[in-house]
Amino acid sequence: MYWFDKITEKFARRVAGNTSRRHLLRKIGLTLAGGAALPLLPVARAADTGGGSGYHGVAPQTSADPDADPGDPASCDYWRYCAIDGFLCSCCGGTHNSCPPGTSMNPMTWIGTCRNPADNLNYIISYNDCCGKTSCGRCLCNNNVNDTPPYRAFSNNDINWCVGMETSTIYHCSTAIILGIATE
């Protein structure tokens, strides 16, 4: 179990949102690197984290309004994280929409669109980075729905979005903040 989580933590390449069989297969593919038997993995993981989708050693959280804003903000599968890349601030002393103490939130950032399973609305999510302290290291999460290459920078999550911060451009963790409803 431990090696699996190590890989998850070390190189979490997962796609949240509409989890499908194919997602699962790809996730398993990644975790195969350690050489253990394939079919056990999802089970082992679920058992290990208390049945949730969270990280080993990170207790589940809820949002301020779990009915309208469901899921675990300390899990990579939380609906708002459909295009996040980095450490979840929820696991680092912040929350899904606030920075940890002593860091600075960059107002400039990249934007994703994620569907809230509670109301089935598409929300515009702003992935503001928290800056000025060394890498949090906890709850690495990388989802890439609608992520584009850096020539479309404002939908690219590879960029260090501590860019432009006067006090420090050192990246610490990422939030996922509701900007509004996506109109079509």
Partner: protein
């Protein structure tokens, strides 16, 4: 908008009167109280695999979730200390102008507790700061948190004295042949010496040395060295030795007293070669006068840093063992919180933290998820 409306219609049955989620505030940053609960612990992560990028992680070991409260950076083989009487914490560190090379600056960085953000610094002269795998007794308070004492190693040893109120370097005191800082409750501190003695340095109100005295030999580093990492109860330092003796040093007065050493071991323990071992091998719950020691069986030459499978708990008044706690996972460092319902926090071999009740021994939770790389030192908030 069409799709959004369609979405609403589809879920109307279950969602009924639910409004859409509100737009949220940017920017928003958390803050902490200016005085921390006694269930909070600073885990000092040496970050051995990227030593120049160590950090301190503040965790609430009692909470069901959101245990990680915040962090602050600390450089290459740094030291850390949190104040009890003011809303500040301190990092002693060394920074090069080109990260790995260039001009070296030694300094004390001062962070406030509310924001864990830098609020000041004290530059230290001489490029002398002692660098060693993270160790509590390299940075200590003296005189009710008026002075901050920092250990220097060049390899000549000395102590730098900093005035915390004035945020100023005051003086450097040589402790040649001796090492580390064990403050008394007066304006003096001890240092352990290679000749098995303790050197005691007395300072005046300006941080200048007024007197230095050496105790008699009170242990034998050739046959059974004491760990340089004691636990403290009521001003008495309890120094475990490699082979399981405890050497108390009473630092309540300006000159130390050295009560007789006693053994952690019973005869059957000795036969199985139980010994103290690990990194932070001892801790104490002061109110109940209990000493906690991390123990391993089959001890031998070289096993003193290997960690342990059990924590043994002693009443220091009677010098008797109260409990043997079997750890869920192999332990490397231990720390007890100081509240009425104390927690035993263990850095385990996975480099996660296990949290136990220090009273019942019950395992309660673990805090991981790569929050730490190598959190060798734990400081309970006071």
């Amino acid at each position: 908008m069409k799709r959004a409306i369609l979405g609403l219609v589809l879920v109307i049955g279950s969602m009924a009167a639910m409004a859409e989620l509100p737009v949220e505030t940017i920017p928003k940053v958390e803050t902490l109280p200016s005085s921390y609960p006694d269930t909070w612990v600073f885990a000092h992560d040496t970050n051995f695999f990227s030593l120049s990028d160590a950090k301190v992680v503040l965790v609430d070991v009692a909470a069901e979730n959101r245990n990680y409260k915040g962090s602050l950076p600390s450089s290459h083989f740094p030291s850390f200390l949190a104040a009890a009487t003011r809303s500040e914490v301190y990092v002693a560190e060394s920074i090069y102008s080109r990260r790995m090379r260039g001009e070296r600056t030694d300094l004390i960085s001062i962070y406030d507790k509310v924001n864990l953000a830098p609020i000041g610094e004290v530059i230290l002269p001489g490029a002398k700061r002692g660098m060693i795998v993270t160790h509590k007794n390299t940075l200590q308070f003296l005189d009710n948190e008026k002075f901050l004492l920092l250990y220097n190693f060049t390899p000549a040893t000395s102590v730098s004295v900093v005035d915390i109120d004035k945020r100023a370097f005051l003086a450097e005191v040589s402790i040649g042949g001796c090492s580390m800082i064990y403050p008394s409750k007066q304006r003096s501190f001890g240092s352990l010496c290679g000749d098995n003695t303790m050197l005691v340095t007395h300072l005046d109100e300006n941080g200048k040395q007024v007197k230095q005295e050496r105790s008699g030999a009170f242990f034998n580093a050739d046959t059974d060295p004491v760990f340089a990492k004691p636990a403290v109860i009521d001003g008495i330092y309890y120094f475990p030795s490699f082979k399981g003796m405890v050497h108390p040093v009473d630092m309540n007065a300006a000159d130390p007293a050295m009560p007789e050493a006693w053994s952690l071991l019973q005869e059957q323990d000795r036969q199985a070669n139980w010994r103290p071992g690990g990194w932070q091998i001892a801790t104490a719950h002061e109110a109940s006068r209990r000493l906690f020691v991390l123990m391993h069986p089959d001890g031998e030459n070289g096993s003193h840093k290997g960690g342990g499978s059990e924590v043994w708990i002693y009443d220091v008044a009677s010098e008797k063992r109260l409990e043997r706690m079997t750890l869920k996972e192999w332990g490397v460092s231990i720390e007890v919180t100081q509240g009425e319902q104390p927690f035993l926090v263990v850095t385990n071999a996975n480099m996660d933290l296990d949290v136990y009740s220090a009273d019942t021994g019950e395992w309660l939770r673990f805090i991981g998820g790569r929050a730490f790389e190598t959190p060798f030192i734990l400081h309970a908030s006071r």
